[in-house]
């Protein structure tokens, strides 16, 4: 999260809720022989939303995308796009277009012919179609490249061709299958921002498949985190990051520290917990994704902890420990701190603001924290 461009202004909660549902998935099941690839996917994707399917490889995210595109049929369950059931509707009749992972640019055609491929049955005149192709090329920043042979384009350019080729057909949904995975880091970050802008500009619903949590957080309005053919959590990026509903989700998105804890008492509005290394504290009910008793674990992000320097005091709580490892990143420094009474160190991150020294390994220190940043997991 340290190196990406900041997210552009996100859509407000009210505005998002007002949007009408575009894709409805009801208990989608998919089997390949004995293999159960999708295990009851239920979700609603709204009009104009930038929606991401995030998960490790083999979690079913690409299968789900291909199901929406019409390349795979569902074993059971209902898929509706714009209120219409897609049962038995082939890929070429669906209001969806796809940007393939390999981009699937036709090597025997020029850039223009690639972009205009889907316009064959468009009733417009040839001149109008040509103009549409030029506009689409301009939109993705490939003005003047039309006459080039498609195979002579670079990876990033091919991706733009693939985008133009899909968007020219004005689909209701644009499906993107790991579109940025083949690009280098700089190019990828640039394309992330461009894709967000493009999505705002055309107002089309985007569904992005990615295994890169950072990419999903940067780009999406909402993210569905998938594991083993199921949606583990579907939320906006901030909720997903701050209040993951399971250890699995928390582990997959960003870095999270876990400490063993015991619930002392359950109160009306939460839990009184004894956390190893941190001591007693109260965790509000909304910071616990499910009812919990007895032995639990408590999670917190590295940036919610602060290293206290000589003479500083914590605004809320503090715990003593020893710095075990220092990883210097330029703008940030990561410290692994072993809190007194805990075997495994916790990781915390400090911005290297001007005048703040980087501490050495073995330094005795104190860590400031707040119960409000803790999440309780079963």
């Amino acid at each position: 999260m340290t190196t990406s461009a900041p997210p552009l202004s996100k859509v407000s909660e009210a505005e998002r809720a007002a949007r009408k549902p575009l894709i409805e998935l009801e208990n989608i099941q998919k089997y390949y022989g004995d293999y159960h690839a999708l295990r009851g996917i239920t979700a609603t994707i709204r009009q104009g939303e930038f929606f991401s399917l995030l998960g490790p490889s083999g979690c079913g995210k690409t299968t789900l995308l291909r199901t929406i595109a019409g390349f795979e049929d569902v074993s059971s369950g209902v898929l509706r796009i714009d209120g219409r059931s897609m049962d038995g509707v082939p890929a070429n009749r669906r209001p969806t277009n796809m940007v393939f992972q390999s981009y699937a640019i036709f090597p025997h055609l020029t850039v223009e012919q690639n972009v205009g491929f889907g316009l064959r049955r468009d009733p417009r005149s040839r001149a109008d179609k040509d103009r549409a192709v030029q506009e689409a090329l301009e939109m993705v920043g490939l003005k003047g490249y039309g006459k080039r042979a498609a195979h002579a384009m670079s990876g990033g350019q091919r991706q733009r061709v693939a985008l133009a080729r899909a968007l020219i057909l004005k689909p209701k949904v644009l499906l993107l299958d790991e579109p940025l995975s083949a690009l280098d880091k700089k190019m990828r970050e640039q394309m992330q921002v461009e894709l967000i802008k493009l999505q705002r500009q055309v107002g089309i619903t985007f569904i992005l498949v990615t295994h890169d949590q950072e990419e999903a957080l940067v780009m999406s309005d909402r993210i569905a985190v998938m594991f083993e053919g199921q949606i583990a959590q579907l939320d906006d990026p901030e909720t997903l990051y701050r209040l993951p509903r399971s250890r699995q989700v928390a582990d997959f998105i960003g870095t999270m520290n876990f400490l063993p804890a015991t619930i002392a008492t359950t109160t009306v509005d939460g839990f009184d917990v004894e956390v190893a290394g941190l001591g007693n504290c109260h965790i509000a009910a909304r910071q616990s994704p499910g009812a919990a008793t007895g032995e639990v674990s408590v999670g917190f992000r590295p940036e919610t902890l602060t290293l206290l320097y000589e003479g500083q005091t914590a605004t809320d709580r503090e715990s003593p420990g020893v710095i075990e490892e220092v990883v210097y990143y330029g703008d940030m420094t990561y410290y692994d701190v072993r809190l007194d009474g805990v075997a495994a160190p916790v990781r915390l991150s400090m911005r290297n603001v001007f005048g703040r020294p980087v501490l050495d390994r073995g330094t005795r220190t104190r860590v400031a924290w707040s119960p409000g940043a803790l999440v309780l997991f079963r």
Binding site: T96, F100, F117
Partner: protein
Amino acid sequence: MNSEGVLHRIRRSEAANGLALISPPAIYAVLLLAAPLGLLFVYSFLTDGYLTILWEFTPQNYIDAWTDPLVRTVMLRSLWVAMLVTMVTVALAFPVAYFVSFHVKPSRKSMWLFLITIPFWTSYLIRVFLWKVILGFNGVVNSGLIGLGIIDEPLTFILYNVNSVVITLAHAYAPFAILPIFVALEKIDRSLLEAGQDLGESRMMTFWRVTLPLAMPGVIASVLIVFIPTIGDYVTPQLLGGPEGRMVANLIQLQYLRLDNYPAGSAIAISAMLMVTAISLVFLFLNRRFLRGPK
């Protein structure tokens, strides 16, 4: 510097090493390909003196070859038969190659290709004779059809004419046509076909707009591989062609061995080669258009 030193230097030079390395295939190529062709070319400009060859250079053999109605008929027939065989073979080979490439499990593909080469397990000559048995007056086809009551008397249009030549050659060259098309189809990225459908085209139109153009290099290779040898085929028209099925190779054989007219035979042979060259160049040019793809 003495001559021994120079020789030594030459022997040790890179060029000499290179030449020594390529000399076995070079000698082979010169002796077995270039020399006979050169001889043929020289013969074609000499004068026939019945049982001897007169060293008088003349273009008369070519004038005869290109004006004689018999030569012209046989030449055109050879062209026509080769075109027919090529069309039939490639048209039948494409679906087979397509099936193996697209509908056979990857683990089974090599077995299928192995099965396709089965016709090669038997000698070409024996296969030609077998077609004689199959297509003959009392052959498998006729007795089968009569036995089933479909026809009353044996079909005669299937042996000793152009039809039997086409059938036999199409069978003989089928594997040659299937393999290049198969290779071209295998190279097609399957996501391109999904992209075609994703962009609104049916399977049929995707085939037409994506699969077929991308398979064209294979198709053209098949066309050349079938066309070039069939136009000069000797055995099949000799054994199955009958009088109306004779092709240019039979005519050349006649000139050489029966009439002992080497110059006339050579002129016909060179003319036939020029024709094949011209047609091949057209196809190679076409291939260049389709080979604009990646690498």
